[in-house]
């Protein structure tokens, strides 16, 4: 192979040799400082642990109500899906679809695909169709907006705090844990290492 350990920066196309990294090290492009890849110790174990935790919290966060409201004896509570439904019923089909995709569909797909890749690897097998799944995960990443959604919930609560009594639901705490675990899972999911397995698998 002429280009076995040659690589091109994905941001400025500079050709360079792949450095050999210390555990925990980061390879950066010398011209534009883009992060090329990282060495993450035990990345499969770590990513699997975080992803399992995140998947568990994701289910709780979607089943239970996020927040409830009480004013003058009238109470109301909503879950994430209930909120999507409410905005759909108000005739905002595009907004409902956008919220559904960015806060339910994409995070759910992301977590299941990561588990689909990580569980077989942990058991010493190669997941089938790894290349297409890695590509899919890469294109989904920017559309996963759980973090932004939670900030939105907090802003909404501040707006309502003057008007009514707020009852935080189980899902609110689960979402809090979920954003931490999700961030950790994505950070320890080492795409570079997994792509190199695709090469070996062929």
């Amino acid at each position: 192979m002429t280009s076995h350990n040659l690589t091109a920066c994905h941001e400025c196309d500079l050709l360079q040799r792949e450095p050999i990294l210390q555990p925990g090290g980061v390879a950066c492009c010398p011209r534009c400082n883009a992060v090329l890849f990282r060495h993450i110790p035990d990345s499969v174990d770590r990513a699997l642990a975080y992803t399992l935790g995140a998947a568990f919290l994701f289910i709780i966060a979607n089943v239970f109500p996020i927040v409830g409201l009480e004013a003058a004896g009238i109470a109301n509570a909503t879950s994430l899906y209930g909120a999507v439904e409410a905005i759909w019923k108000n005739g905002m089909v595009f907004v409902a679809a956008l919220v559904f995709v960015t806060t339910i569909l994409i995070p759910a797909l992301e977590l299941s695909l990561m588990l689909y890749v990580l569980v077989p690897l942990k058991l010493g097998q190669m997941p089938q169709g790894l290349a297409s799944i890695l590509r899919l995960l890469q294109s989904m990443r920017p559309w996963s907006m759980t973090q932004v959604f939670i900030l939105g919930v907090l802003v909404a609560l501040v707006k309502l705090a003057h008007l009514a009594h707020i009852v935080p639901g189980i899902a609110l705490w689960s979402f809090g844990g979920l954003i931490l675990l999700l961030t950790a899972a994505v950070a320890s999911f080492n795409r570079h290492e997994l792509w190199n397995m695709v090469r070996e698998g062929e």
Partner: protein, 210 residues
């Protein structure tokens, strides 16, 4: 030849957009696929400049209704009220939550505008073939990619308010048409940032050196 300044494309190599592995381009052949992951290979993102402009101009146009039309209508015992993005920020500011007002102001007004202006600047700089400040412009692009989703904040706020505040005759909140327009702005600017190829920022400099 200065070894530290050769790009893959100058040597006829093409990095895959998906897995990053290098493939040698065969002259005159189209529709080549990455030998590792099978993705279609392009030296640069196809029609990057035209597509970024298209998404960006559409985002500028939608930005107007997103700010002029109401985000939500509040109906209560004390009467009805319609709020735009800006009047929502002003309300938060006056009700004493200035820090929340600041968060909403940055996420819903500063970030989308800064994003659209920065992309315009990057596109013009590529089209004029600037050779200076490539590093700074690449950093600007990286920030754009990072902040993209955060402008969805106001859409989520309105959605939660609409779902929660349905207290029969006491108070109710309906979403306004600006929510859809604003969601559209966020999606379009994200597509615009994805269509832009940061490698174009370095190309004029390379042509200069060769």
């Amino acid at each position: 030849m200065n070894d530290s300044n050769v790009t893959a494309s100058q040597l006829g190599l093409c990095a895959c957009h998906g897995c990053g592995s290098l493939s040698r381009l065969v002259a005159g052949s189209h529709d080549m696929c990455c030998r590792r992951c099978g993705a279609a290979l392009h030296l640069r993102k196809p029609d990057s400049i035209a597509r970024t402009w298209a998404f960006l101009i559409a985002a500028y146009i939608l930005y107007v209704p997103a700010n002029v039309l109401p985000m939500m209508r509040t109906g209560s015992l004390f009467g009805a009220q319609a709020d735009t993005i800006m009047s929502g920020v002003v309300y938060l500011w006056h009700s004493g939550s200035w820090h929340i007002a600041l968060v909403v102001f940055i996420a819903s007004i500063v970030v989308p505008l800064a994003k659209m202006f920065s992309l315009t600047y990057l596109l013009i700089s590529v089209q004029l073939g600037w050779t200076h400040r490539s590093l700074e412009r690449t950093k600007l692009y990286r920030i754009l990619e990072f902040v993209g989703p955060w402008s969805m904040l106001d859409v989520f706020v309105v959605m939660i308010l609409v779902a929660l505040v349905q207290l029969k005759s006491l108070a109710s909140i309906q979403p306004g048409p600006a929510v859809a327009a604003f969601g559209g702005v966020v999606v379009l600017t994200m597509f615009a940032a994805m269509a832009f190829d940061p490698r174009l920022l370095w190309e004029p400099k390379e042509r200069h050196h060769v």
